[in-house]
Assembly symmetry: C2
Homo-oligomer: 458 residues x 2
């Protein structure tokens, strides 16, 4: 048995996934604008030997275009939200090993600027940065950037070009030997080893060269979480860590083997991708104590928050149907699959929105003693899961609990690492600082090197 | 007599202004990729009660389009360079009072994303962020973002719209009272006080609302450094701190009174803008010791570096004319003013490129004992200068010297503050956290508030 990897899943906002919990007296996430709040959390995570902290993000409001957004404001549901990327250097200098991952959408930043930001952060953190590639799915998010939301598959074509541009900058623009820093000769860098990329594509023209020198990982560790067929193909081609929220280990196993098969078809190896299952945890010294803690959390569940986040119960004008509304009475496209899922989950009754909210709030929830939780994690590991994306109920309490009570038991069972290995995040996860040659980014290594001067000179 | 303000002028690169000095045995700026290098510097600056650290930046290479860039790589002349903005949170958590200013060009980032970044940093730093607005002037910088360099005045029109968008987001999108964080009622924020901006202009369409809640300063302190007529008008309308490099206190006085006059024409007050003169310092216990220290610095002056940065000695193919070239033999547009300046400065000879480099390396250089330097600063203050932008020779030595040897004398004379005042950067500089009502950003306060519900409801 090998250890599982652990990521903490958070967002630089009030209410990320478990809506209503900010009202819990134990919750401090309404302090998210204070950097010290985050520093305390990452120190806890590092004490617990977590592999990384992973910031979700958005580019705009949830809900329909031109819709009312009262429910999102009221719930603090991903608004207000702050830029996670500029928070990371403060966290980097307060940790030594923890991976620092954040989400950035192709809509929100030009790839030339984005690539530079990543390289700078990778230098600052000595190689601990990961990027969760997202294509954006919010109408308002697109309109904040002067565009309408592109059709789903077209967004992935856009993402393919975006990835090409940043790969060219990270992997191809500077040779490993470009920086000499030779004080005697007065040569800081050798221009023959710094290349323009001259990218011209459907959406971007980028001349280069990349402004930063090569950072420890060059390309950051690549995260992806798309569940659609096209998203899964993108993940199979590009991702090194895939985040799933499977309803059971069996479904996870299916997703994992399918994506690994696609990765092999794309010329990669099955072990080039690690799969993280999203789960949340409620624990106690006894099962009864854990159930009591769960009942305490249930008090703060906001049915309206889960409905609004799920979008299925949101009207075209942005308002939310009442919780008692039967799902069959909702005019909403694409809800058939969810209705079927609910029908299976709420047998003998016509499912209502409140049932959906309850199910969403319970999705991936594991309740029990640390030993019971360890048993459950073994089941996920047996299904092929490489790591757990630990969703929090409230901050910082959920990670305090996990680190103080659950991690020690996992360490005793050999399910969690006791010490960090040295080196970059990719080195810790895959044994190497750089992407393997079979990754699509690697084809740009050396791709912009001109014919050598010796040959040109004759 | 009042105190002068002090900014440290730096860049996240090897060779910013004083080229060749990275080869100086005392220089450590080739460690710029290491965050600890910067943390040490900002702690020194805060010990010396500096008002701020100010990061310059670029979006691409210097030199002509499609030109060779060997000299820039060789000199480390602003390449490699890293993103300053993502460095700031690490510096914020290692200081308490120091202002944190950085340059960001309108070409490099969409204003929606940029405004969010600034608000996040302003939250993190508790109101210590300043933004140096630049329009970008590099052909390569424009082509890294898929565009050709816009004509000079057109860039300022673009900057006007860019400023409007970010002002709308910072000042108009959220009312002061929008965040309630009311756990009892379960209301985090009041949607009636969070407004879409629906900006539509020649270049940008931005729906909003702004994602972050109001930060301590809302709009960051606004820096500007443009010297052209159009740039000066932009500064007069928008800037709170203007950075000049005048050849003498008399010229500074002229520039300052002209810009203040333009500011008054734009509806602002003369004291709404503080002027910082860029100077560098070489000191010693005696004048002889200072001259010896200067001679040591002179050893590392790179003539080629100053020529390449000045651009006047750069051929259309990007290569640099030899230092002994006479200026009259250079085919370069727009050099007439510089030739006249040199003719005045190098009397009786035909000026050569090496003369230009020498003059550039000596521009704004003040050499002497701390008392002599204090005398010189009094002359600048008498001309109306509010502060000094302290250019470094090498890092961290130039600021160690300034803080350890010059600041104490300035403090004794009442020319430098002994303690910080509390509060945000704007509060420290102007006595108020927010921009005054007469600033153009202020016109967006309340501009997006709909007719109140009471009125609508009848």
């Amino acid at each position: 048995m090998s250890v599982l990897h652990f990521n903490a899943f958070v967002m630089n906002t009030v209410s990320h996934i478990q809506h209503g919990q900010w009202r819990n007296p134990a919750a401090r996430q309404d302090e998210f604008e204070d950097v010290q709040f985050w520093i305390d959390i990452v120190k806890t995570l590092e004490r617990g030997r977590f592999d990384g902290v992973f910031f979700a993000d958005v580019s705009g409001l949830y809900g329909p275009r031109d819709g009312d957004y009262e429910v999102y404001a009221q719930q603090g549901l991903q608004i207000p939200s702050n830029d996670p990327s500029v928070l990371l250097s403060a966290l980097a200098v307060n940790t030594e090993h923890l991976g620092l991952a954040f989400t950035s959408s192709i809509v929100q930043e030009h790839p030339f600027n984005f690539a530079r930001k990543i390289s700078t952060l990778d230098h600052i953190s000595k190689g601990r940065i990961a990027w969760n590639i997202v294509t954006g799915m919010q109408e308002n998010g697109a309109r904040n950037f002067g565009t309408d939301l592109a059709e789903h598959d077209a967004r992935y074509d856009w993402a393919d070009e975006y990835a090409d541009v940043v790969y060219k900058l990270w992997e191809g623009s500077w040779d490993d030997t470009a920086v000499l820093a030779d004080r005697e000769r007065g040569v800081y860098a050798d221009v023959r080893r710094i290349h323009k990329i001259n990218h011209v594509g459907p959406r971007y023209s980028v001349e280069g060269p990349h402004l930063p020198s090569p950072s420890p990982q060059r390309t950051p560790v690549l995260y992806q979480a798309g569940g659609s067929a096209r998203g899964r193909r993108f993940a199979a081609e590009h991702a090194e860590a895939v985040f799933i929220i499977a309803p059971s280990p069996e479904v996870a196993a299916e997703h994992i083997s399918d994506t690994r098969r696609l990765a092999v078809e794309a010329g990669r190896k099955p072990e080039d991708i690690k799969f993280f299952q999203g789960l949340s945890f409620v624990t106690g010294e006894t099962e009864e104590a854990a159930r009591a803690a769960e009942a305490e959390l249930e008090k703060y569940v906001s049915v309206e928050g889960y409905i609004a986040h799920g979008t299925i119960g949101v009207r075209a004008d942005g308002t939310v149907y009442p919780p008692e509304t039967k799902l069959k009475d909702i005019e909403s496209n694409g809800s058939q699959g969810i209705i079927e899922w609910l029908a299976k989950s709420v047998p003998g009754e016509e499912p209502r929105l409140s049932d959906l909210a309850t199910l969403l709030s319970r999705r991936g929830r594991v309740v029990g003693t640390p030993d019971q939780i360890a048993d459950e994690l073994e089941r996920w590991q047996a299904a092929g899961v490489d790591g757990i994306n630990v969703v929090n109920w409230h901050l910082p309490g959920s990670y305090d609990d996990f680190v103080d009570h659950i991690i020690p038991v996992l360490q005793q069972r050999g399910l969690a690492q006791r010490e960090y290995t040295e080196g970059t995040l990719r080195k810790k996860l895959f044994g190497s600082d750089k992407l393997p040659d079979r990754h699509p980014a690697a084809r740009f290594r050396g791709a912009f090197t001109p014919v050598t001067a010796a040959v040109v000179g004759g």
